[in-house]
Subunit: 273 residues, 2 copies
């Protein structure tokens, strides 16, 4: 792998470029982005040079699509004609079914592998990019690919192989449902209630600060799975409401505490000793 083209040099695309460098990638990194972003990316040394999509695609051994979902779908429609045969194409979109399906239709000369690094920050943009963003975080691929898998390991991420439908079902539960919960809760906290809000309310309403622009595409491409997750969650809340005055609640708490602890052990495994 000699040349990587990053399409959309924001927080994720920029961090992937920096992570590749830190992991020992010695080839050329080309950026495709808006003039403002390109200027910032060049100044920070995130990319080596900037090109329009067509020559960037023609030059690349790996194309990394780190745009918003709808733009990834759009790029996939025009990308293939510029690729050398066998070029590896991946993406960093937050939902996978729509993108993987679109790629299957449009990418013929290249090889497409869907990707989703489970990493982020409260602030966006290439100014926030950092080489360590993916370290210790899950990085989902929708199918196996030896080259990508090897780089994902080298940048310190935790490789997870999941087909696109399964990915979308699981992130509906772990990411999209939490966002909707936070949004629903925040809009119920009146100024009167805010007077008595403690750390619990702050923890649970942090996600509600996320701008809708990020979420519009996610809802548009994963509504079925999100509806399923919401329905199951509402059913659990109804079960808790019914158990509020009963000793059954002890078991509900115990089960949830075990799951919450397991989530933490999985995410923060003890280091090598």
């Amino acid at each position: 792998m000699n040349t990587v083209s990053i399409v959309g040099v924001g927080l994720i695309g920029g961090s992937f470029a920096l992570a590749l460098r830190q992991a020992g990638f010695a080839g050329r990194i080309i950026g495709v982005s808006s003039p403002r972003t390109i200027a910032a990316a060049l100044e920070r040394g995130v990319i080596d040079e900037a090109l329009p999509l067509a020559p960037a695609a023609a030059a690349a051994d790996l194309i990394y699509l780190a745009q918003p979902i709808e733009q990834i779908l759009c790029t996939l429609e025009t990308l293939d004609r510029h690729l050398r045969p066998g070029t590896l194409v991946t993406d960093a979109g937050s939902t996978k079914r729509a993108i993987v399906g679109h790629a299957a239709h449009h990418i013929r000369r290249g090889e497409f592998v869907g990707g989703h690094p489970m990493a982020g920050k409260e602030s966006r943009g290439v100014e926030q990019a950092e080489a360590g963003l993916f370290r210790g975080r899950p990085y989902v691929l929708s199918s196996r690919n030896a080259v990508l898998e090897s780089w994902i390991e080298r940048i310190g991420a935790r490789l997870v192989i999941l087909d696109a439908t399964e990915h979308d079902r699981l992130v509906a539960l772990t990411s999209h449902l939490p966002q909707l919960i936070s949004t629903a809760l925040a809009s119920q906290i009146t100024p009167e209630a805010a007077q008595v809000a403690g750390p619990a309310a702050l923890d649970l309403t942090r996600l509600a600060l996320s701008p809708y622009e990020i979420w519009r595409d996610i809802f548009a491409t994963n509504a079925d799975a999100i509806e399923g997750a919401l329905g199951a969650f509402i059913a659990r809340l109804e079960a808790l409401r019914a158990a509020l005055r009963s000793p059954e609640m002890q078991r509900e708490f115990d089960r949830a505490a075990v799951a919450a602890a397991a989530l933490r052990n999985l995410r923060d495994p003890p280091g090598p000793s």
Copy 2:
């Protein structure tokens, strides 16, 4: 105010003692607690001496009940006979209607003012007590009292006066509902889903680690208000589910982001410049 008796010298009771000292209280602080807790509290200098409830109550100008709710209810039943007339009695229980109602029935010689400092930590016990625990946090009183109000201000807390019913309705929304949400969500995150869990899932399942012992008394004494908050929250989730594919979602996000931001501005006001 010359003598304060703290009944239940755990995280909250111990922190109140330390906070009083730091705020310039020069009188005597008596602790009423289990032998193990008393030993730790004396060793850390949290209290000056230990006494059983009866002599501690007789000696005090202020009695601070920082036990679990059911134990506060129990203490209120036997406390009055030991009080000197006019002794101020307050508590730190997480719900107020049951306690304030019980106190109205049982406290005749003393004056009872319900209290609820909105402060806590993940770990409990007098070992975790700290003078700054209440700083910047809401501290609710169920009725006005000049002496208590003055100390609450001196320990750096933010005084909020709310009658017991209103308090319980609001904390159902800001504290008890978040706990149930976290418990419900955690128990739905299967090991499979945990593979792709990012910061959102961690943020929203942190409360699910809380032990049920703390919550049993809260549910027992605030079930009505919690049921109301749960019902309204489920209705909001249903509204979001219905809006998932519509532009209405933009307004839902905007409204929630404003509420979440207001919560933060209220809690972290800019310092004096």
